[in-house]
């Protein structure tokens, strides 16, 4: 469900998502969007913060009050960190500033969909991809039974990848979730951490679990 009043952006998003097989419903005003979102089931709601008739934040607050638990991704031109916190505390699940790359939007939408399954994995204390196991309680990692020593940052990086196993996570998502950064700290920072992580997790094994998707991000999955 896309609630966006700017036609250009709406077409851009709709086309991009449809090309990947998603079905997109589109409303261009706040009240219209609220009606559709509260009466129909959707996997994800993408809502602009500024909408005619009812602003995005109020819309989502009302949806939450009406018991609609669908994950919400906010789109906005507002770059202010305060606005971001406001949006997430008001019931939103993720926040993307315009302009954005389609790859970014797609990755985040995918991360939000199948959320019920996601919640189930989040309740687990052990994550597994192929023969790689991560124990959240004891903060240990092992592959094929052999323990792997990871630093704190590397552990968090692997944890996030495994929580979204099979789905592409973008650089920005990683920077946000692992280091709580709202800016790009320089091109090689993430890559350096990633290469060290892969050296520990993948080297010496036939199957490379952590894969780079050029122009998109990273993903962990069995080949």
């Amino acid at each position: 469900m896309l609630i966006e009043d700017d036609t250009e952006t709406a077409l851009y998003v709709t086309e991009g998502l449809q090309q990947l097989g998603h079905i997109v419903a589109w409303a261009s005003t706040g009240p219209d969007g609220y009606f559709q979102a509260s009466h129909n089931d959707h996997e994800v709601i993408i809502a602009d913060r500024m909408l005619p008739g009812m602003d995005g934040l109020t819309l989502v607050k009302n949806l939450r009050r009406a018991g609609v638990l669908t994950p919400v991704l906010f789109l906005t031109t507002m770059d202010d960190l305060n606005a971001r916190v406001e949006g997430l505390e008001g019931g939103g699940d993720d926040y993307l500033t315009k302009p954005f790359a389609m790859a970014e939007l797609v990755a985040r939408v995918n991360a939000l969909t199948r959320r019920s399954q996601h919640l189930a994995t989040m309740a687990q204390t052990r994550l597994a991809v192929a023969d790689l196991e991560l124990d959240l309680l004891s903060r240990t990692v092992s592959r094929a039974g052999k323990a792997i020593e990871l630093q704190a940052q590397e552990f968090r990086l692997l944890e996030f990848l495994m929580q979204n196993s099979g789905k592409i996570v973008t650089r920005t998502m990683l920077l946000e979730h692992v280091w709580d950064l709202d800016f790009d700290p320089g091109t090689t920072v993430l890559e350096s951490h990633m290469s060290r992580l892969r050296a520990k997790v993948d080297r010496g094994f036939d199957c490379e679990l952590i894969q780079t998707m050029r122009g998109y991000g990273y993903v962990i999955r069995p080949n």
Binding site: D79, D80, F183, S192, S195
Partner: protein, 466 residues
């Protein structure tokens, strides 16, 4: 917005002065009324005391005459004596069974009490007698009643004179107060008017006018000099905006031109593959990032980020940045040493500070060749925390050190390295927001960036930059 002339009577000062005068007169009135009643009372008490004394004398005479059975006679004699010696203000009465025996009052109802009543004026009464008396009476014996009183004219006279005097005092006070109030409020209003006039002249375009400060070190002077400071700040902000607009116009033209060129090339050669378009998108991303950084700087400079301030440990933030960057710096051939003292508590925005230090590390890495070591340190120096990021690279010559803080400034040597030139401008904005000082020093060799932050005990909200 149009301003009209305000009449003196509409001013706040006049209103306050009037209220003050009103209160003052009110209390004076109260005071004078009290005096009036006290004096009046005193007069009457005096009269009553005299009457009582006379009555006591009459009683004594009556009692003395008892053995000789001449009580009444003695009493009458006493009264007659007194009457001879008195003026017509003294009033006596001796009556037996309701019939007057002696005195100059007609018979009256016998009451043993203080009596205030009207009485018929006597033929010999003095001019001005009031016809009202105050006196006291008692029963000397069953059926025998004696009464002594005084005409109240004297008291009345005194009361009248008091009222006149007090009225005159009040009137005089009123006039003086009003006059004084007018004079004082006039001078105050004139001072305010001069401030208003200066502000209007500034608004009309004479931007360098300032409010005259008399040096009296009072609240008006404080107001005046505070407004002057504000005007100076506004001036410098405006100057900053002018400068930024120039910088932006100048420096964004290049990447925008590149972008246009690439797109034109792509248009000319649609079969040339996606290379040109990819490059164009990359150019766009760079521009977008630049704008985002500019916006962030503007937000920080306008103080919009003050809400994010919390008590933090600077050492924690710095350590976080270092651990984030170590792998990348290592890969780029820079050995990093960190000497960070713990427990540097201060008021700050952790996100912005993270960005600040990340900026400095990134700069150190990008502008020095492989193999250059980078040293980070943080320590407490008195009421401040001193943070340094030092490299052993080329450094920046002294004359350029001020300029590098300007937005978009790239030293000629660095024009080919990637980066928007906004890093240090952003760093300075963040430092300013935290009340911190940022300086570039010669690391002999290399560049050392030094930041001094106020620690919590000494921390105050940063003042507008001088």
């Amino acid at each position: 917005m149009s301003y009209g002339r305000i009449r003196l009577f509409q001013t706040e000062t006049f209103r306050l002065a009037a209220i003050y005068v009103g209160l003052f007169l009110g209390s004076m009135l109260f005071l004078l009324a009290m005096i009036y009643f006290i004096v009046s009372n005193a007069f009457e008490s005096d009269l009553l005391r005299n009457s009582r004394d006379d009555l006591a004398a009459i009683r004594k005479a009556y009692v003395l005459g008892a053995p000789k059975n001449k009580s009444l006679h003695e009493a009458k004699e006493m009264i007659d004596d007194r009457l001879l010696a008195s003026d017509a203000a003294d009033l006596f009465l001796l009556q037996k069974d309701g019939v007057r025996v002696a005195g100059n009052l007609p018979a009256m109802a016998a009451r043993a009490a203080t009596i205030r009543m009207d009485y018929p004026l006597l033929p010999g009464a003095r001019a001005g007698a009031s016809g009202r008396l105050l006196g006291t009476g008692e029963m000397l014996a069953p059926g025998i009643y004696a009464f002594v009183g005084r005409d109240l004219y004297a008291a009345r006279h005194a009361e009248d004179r008091m009222v006149l005097a007090f009225a005159a005092i009040l009137l005089l006070t009123l006039i003086l107060s009003i006059a004084g109030g007018l004079v004082l409020s006039r001078s105050f209003v004139r001072r305010i008017d001069s401030i208003t006039a200066t502000c209007r002249s500034i608004m009309a375009g004479r931007l360098n006018d300032r409010i005259p400060v008399r040096g009296a070190r009072n609240e008006l002077d404080q107001l005046g000099s505070t407004i002057n400071d504000m005007l100076d700040r506004i001036n410098s902000l405006m100057e900053g905006v002018r400068q930024v607009s120039n910088d932006i116009a100048h420096d964004l033209r290049t990447p925008l031109t590149h972008l246009r060129n690439r797109l034109e090339r792509a248009r000319r050669d649609p079969h040339g593959g996606s290379g040109a378009i990819e490059a164009a998108i990359a150019d766009c991303d760079e521009l977008i990032a630049m704008f985002a950084a500019l916006l962030r700087i503007a937000q920080i400079e306008s103080g919009a980020r003050r809400a994010g301030m919390q008590t933090i440990d600077l050492a924690d933030v710095l350590r976080g940045v270092v651990t984030l960057y170590i792998p990348a710096l290592d890969d780029a051939g820079h050995a990093v040493t960190a000497d960070i003292s713990p427990g540097l508590r201060m008021l700050g925005d952790p996100q912005l500070l993270f960005r600040l230090f990340a900026n400095l590390l990134d700069n150190a890495s990008r502008h020095t060749p492989r193999g250059t070591p980078i040293a980070v340190s943080a320590s407490q120096a008195g009421a401040q925390a001193r943070v340094t990021v030092a490299d052993a690279g080329e450094g920046i010559p002294a004359e350029d050190r001020e300029l590098v803080f300007r937005r978009f400034y790239r030293r000629e040597r660095s024009r080919t390295t990637p980066g928007s030139g906004l890093g240090l401008a952003l760093a300075e904005a963040i430092a300013d927001l935290h009340g911190a000082h940022i300086a570039l020093e010669d690391n002999k060799p290399g560049l050392r960036v030094v930041l001094t932050f106020p620690l919590t005990e000494a921390a105050t909200l940063p003042r507008a930059a001088e």
